[in-house]
């Protein structure tokens, strides 16, 4: 008996002793940095020093060329590309490149790098680094293709290189000398510079990547060129970044340290003064508005949510008048205000209003119940009689059943007599069902939500929601799927056949859509491209294959001593860059 007690006691004591060394704590890996260049203290401008602590979505990788939140963290703090966004309007300013010239045909950009730039370990930053990095970003072996942000940047032969049709040296990126980089496009793009500031344009240190392989992103190995550098990364726990004393670019930061806890975010941590900023969800918004309204900041985002037509044996939704009626019979203003309490903004257009211009007002559905009723009657379903129950397919893994959606169903019932219901699936089933061929008793649409990474109207036309697959006869979709799933065919032949099939079987709107796309690709002058894009927006509106419902809003609270926080409307309210933040403490 005594033995038992001694044993138990020893166990407890040793457990107690072990508590001194907690496994899993981040080790303080101090890299041996070269002596930092003397950086003169700023006498005016924001106060230097201090720290900022907040949350961020868990990055599954810290390689800027592999799509995950790690890429965004690089862009916001650790790495700097040729150009940068100066503000939340995404106006372009110099970064590693201090100046650039554009050829008269707008196909060649020549960048001059700022002299004296270095990596965080002191190595000089040259144009060769950018050539290596840009090619790495589009190399399918780096998996960068998982990111949508590269799409449409239009670098010469980039897509051909991705498909393995040409070698890397044919890609339109070339280092002319140590400080000059030339980029050739395959067609003129007024938004090229804005796109270049995205994550795929960030440079990586070639020697480090080649030496350590996948381990180059470990904090003790990582070499970057931005105003901050990675001090530690505890997976699933937190990221700590500190000032990079070797940063010589034009956009330095003000803080000494940035600590980002990895999600899930907890507003209690903010109220306990452990973090300086946190996102506010609809559950807490009323409480925050009551208790600390002055700390609340908000922005409309570019994330448009709605429903996307599904195809199958059932042809009732194939009549575009039915779809137009559904789109026009919903009072989104009222629902956003009353049901969602202004936590979302109404979207009558697939263009969010935050992108500016008149896209979102011009290419929008009107809330007009009388007109919607008439359309429905013309289509042969007066007062909704004869229409099957419409199914709205959503997935509870992506978002909880949205009260907004339920209100839409209610409006359809009240205004049109159309019955609808929600089908809520686990995401694996959802991902399969949404693009599957549906049986005769199913007429429905699936939930989508998408944002462009920047305010580019063209991206909202070309990046998503195309009419290429708007079939004239919905039953043709089955053949298309068989073609897509044909494992025997090689990728190149399959792509060609799929394109031919789309051209042959699309509806008149779809055919015109593809015609316009092809014409735009041949047109070098953006001014001549514009009316074609506008026509595309108009036919997409008429076709009503996608019904927009609302635009997400981002809400945050920021402690009063943190200044310079500019919300990124295309990145759920995270700051544009961490460099603009400063602390008055």
């Amino acid at each position: 008996m005594r033995k038992t007690w001694v044993l138990l006691l020893t166990l407890l004591v040793s457990v107690g002793l072990l508590s001194g060394c907690l496994p899993g704590q981040p080790k303080e890996t101090e890299k041996k940095d070269p002596a930092p260049a003397t950086t003169g203290q700023k006498t005016d401008g924001p106060k230097q020093g201090g720290s900022f602590t907040s949350f961020i979505i868990n990055p599954t990788s810290m390689d800027p060329h592999i799509y995950s939140y790690g890429a965004h963290i690089h862009r916001m703090a650790l790495s700097e590309g040729l150009v940068t966004w100066k503000n939340a309007k995404f106006e372009v300013g110099p970064a590693s490149a201090e100046s650039w010239t554009v050829s008269p045909d707008k196909l060649t950009y020549t960048f001059k790098l700022k002299k004296g730039l270095t990596w965080s370990n002191g190595d000089p930053l040259t144009a060769k680094d950018f050539e290596y990095s840009l090619k790495r970003a589009i190399d399918p072996k780096t998996w960068a293709g998982a990111s949508a942000s590269y799409q449409g940047a239009g670098i010469l032969n980039a897509v051909a290189f991705q498909r393995g049709e040409v070698t890397a040296d044919k890609v339109g990126v070339k280092a002319i000398d140590e400080t000059t980089l030339e980029i050739k496009l395959d067609k003129a793009n007024d938004n090229f510079l804005m796109r270049l500031a995205e994550v795929w344009g960030l440079p990586v240190h070639q020697a480090t990547v080649e030496k350590f392989g996948k381990d180059w992103t470990k904090p003790e190995n990582m070499v970057t060129n931005g105003p901050f550098k990675l001090k530690s990364w505890t997976v699933n726990s937190e990221i700590v970044m500190v000032r990079n004393d070797n940063y010589k670019g034009p956009n330095p930061g003000n803080l000494d340290q940035i600590k980002l806890f990895l999600n899930p975010a907890n507003i209690l941590a903010y109220e306990n003064n452990e973090v300086d900023s946190v996102e506010v969800t609809s559950a807490d918004i009323d409480r925050i508005k009551a208790n600390m309204p002055e700390q609340l900041i908000a922005t409309e985002t570019g994330a448009v949510q709605g429903f996307w037509l599904m195809f199958g044996d059932n042809q009732t939704l194939m009549d575009k008048r039915v779809r137009q009626a559904l789109a026009m019979a919903v009072d989104r203003d009222k629902i956003a205000k009353v049901v969602s309490k202004d936590t979302v903004a109404p979207a009558y257009s697939l263009f969010p209003s935050i992108i500016g211009g008149d896209w979102s007002s011009k290419y929008a559905y009107k809330y007009d119940v009388a007109a919607a009723k008439k359309l429905l009657a013309d289509a042969g379903y007066p007062d909704g009689k004869g229409l099957p129950e419409v199914t709205l397919l959503i997935s509870y893994n992506i978002a909880a059943t949205d009260p907004f959606t339920m209100a839409v169903i209610d409006e359809w019932k009240t205004n049109l007599g159309v019955k609808a219901k929600v089908e809520n699936l686990e995401w694996g089933l959802f991902s399969q069902k949404r693009f599957a061929y549906q049986p005769a008793d199913f007429a429905g649409m699936f939930n989508f939500s998408w944002t462009s990474p920047y305010p580019d109207a063209i991206n909202y036309l070309r990046g998503n929601w195309g009419l290429d697959t708007l079939w004239a006869d919905g039953t043709k979709y089955k053949e298309y799927l068989d073609l897509q799933n044909d494992k025997a065919m090689d990728a190149a032949t399959k792509t060609k056949k799929m394109e031919e099939f789309r051209l042959a079987n699309a509806s008149p709107e779809g055919k015109r859509w593809m015609e316009l796309k092809a014409a735009i690709d041949k047109e070098a002058d953006p001014a001549k491209q514009l009316p074609m894009y506008q026509e595309m927006a108009q036919i997409r509106l008429d076709a009503a294959m996608y019904i927009p419902l609302n635009v997400a809003k981002a809400f945050r609270v920021v402690k009063p001593h943190i200044k310079g926080y500019e919300m990124n409307p295309f990145l759920i309210g995270y700051p544009m860059y961490y460099r603009s933040l400063y602390s008055t403490k």
């Binding site: 897509v159 997935s395 694996g428 998408w450």
Partner: protein
């Protein structure tokens, strides 16, 4: 003893292979694949059709998903045997064995501390209830312990955060960098198990106290300590270990809610996310690892029976 061990270990290996086969089959029967998960969560539904086809082909090749199923299975099993299971789909720059090496000690710490806490509270409660059977002490202690049992750990966690962080400002809401970060997760996990253990303790103590040798010990003039704690307790430990062993095993593999609420970098979040994102290697590993931990723990429990009760011996 050796024969017992070797028979058991042999059985464990067979069981693990069976578990891996079952997991592999179920995993591949589930709809959706890893790439779909990424595309859905990043909202990337279209973009350049061809680029997507290429990227998918590249990823399939990299992960060996283009090989026939039995080859995939064997590759994976070989990886487990050689402790080189390749990268996780979700975290392409982390190898699975790295994940386990880093995260398992964390979950293990949490598990050991919580179980220790449960035992420290539950055993005295159980003894008290048994010794003072059917008195107010009995009812009170059982009632208190059952409250702890009925409240889920994550609800308890929220209460703890509200109390210790927001009201008292004694503890930070979450994290795993200072020793005091251990307190709330351990409380949340530990208090919940108190109920079950206390009840077992009470029942087996009551049973033990009824025995003739206890009456004899009292008659010989034994003190409370000698009779109750020395004799009865030791004999009531067996049911306790039966409960505690698997409990420890379950906690060692990580508890999702507590780990994510307190931002503890343990196995829990990895393993649950693996199922959701169809991260095949990680999912296989989590299933087999969990099975291994449970079986190992059961083996330890069986061995401890022998240590605690000389009547139970194996050839």
């Amino acid at each position: 003893m050796l024969r017992f061990l070797s028979r058991r270990l042999g059985f464990m290996v067979i069981a693990l292979v069976f578990v891996s086969l079952l997991t592999f089959t179920l995993m591949h029967m589930a709809p959706g694949n890893f790439l779909d998960a990424k595309r859905i969560s990043s909202g990337d539904v279209s973009g350049d059709e061809q680029a997507s086809v290429d990227v998918i082909a590249e990823m399939e090749k990299r992960y060996g998903l283009d090989k026939p199923l039995y080859v995939q299975y064997l590759t994976y099993m070989k990886g487990m045997a050689t402790w080189d299971m390749g990268p996780s789909f979700q975290f392409p720059q982390l190898h699975i064995e790295e994940i386990i090496e880093k995260a398992f000690p964390v979950s293990l710490t949490l598990a050991i501390f919580s179980v220790a806490l449960s035992i420290i509270i539950a055993v005295p409660l159980g003894i008290l209830a048994a010794v003072k059977q059917n008195t107010v002490w009995d009812y009170l202690s059982m009632f208190l312990s059952m409250i702890g049992n009925s409240i889920p750990a994550y609800v308890l966690a929220v209460f703890l955060i509200l109390l210790f962080s927001l009201k008292l400002h004694w503890l930070p809401t979450a994290g795993w960098t200072e020793p005091r970060h251990v307190i709330m997760p351990v409380l949340a996990l530990g208090l919940g198990s108190v109920g079950g253990i206390a009840r077992y303790m009470r029942t087996s103590m009551v049973e033990a106290l009824r025995q003739d040798y206890i009456a004899a010990a009292w008659a010989k003039g034994g003190s409370f300590t000698k009779v109750v704690l020395g004799h009865a307790l030791r004999n009531s430990l067996i049911p306790l270990i039966t409960v505690v062993g698997p409990q420890l095993a379950r906690l060692m593999v990580g508890t999702v809610f507590i780990e994510s609420m307190f931002r503890v970098p343990g196995l829990g979040s990895y393993f649950t996310l693996a199922a959701n994102t169809r991260d095949y290697p990680l999912l296989m590993t989590s299933s087999v690892f969990f099975a291994f931990v449970i079986m190992a723990m059961n083996l330890v429990v069986d061995l401890m029976y022998g240590f605690l009760d000389p009547r139970i011996r194996f050839e």
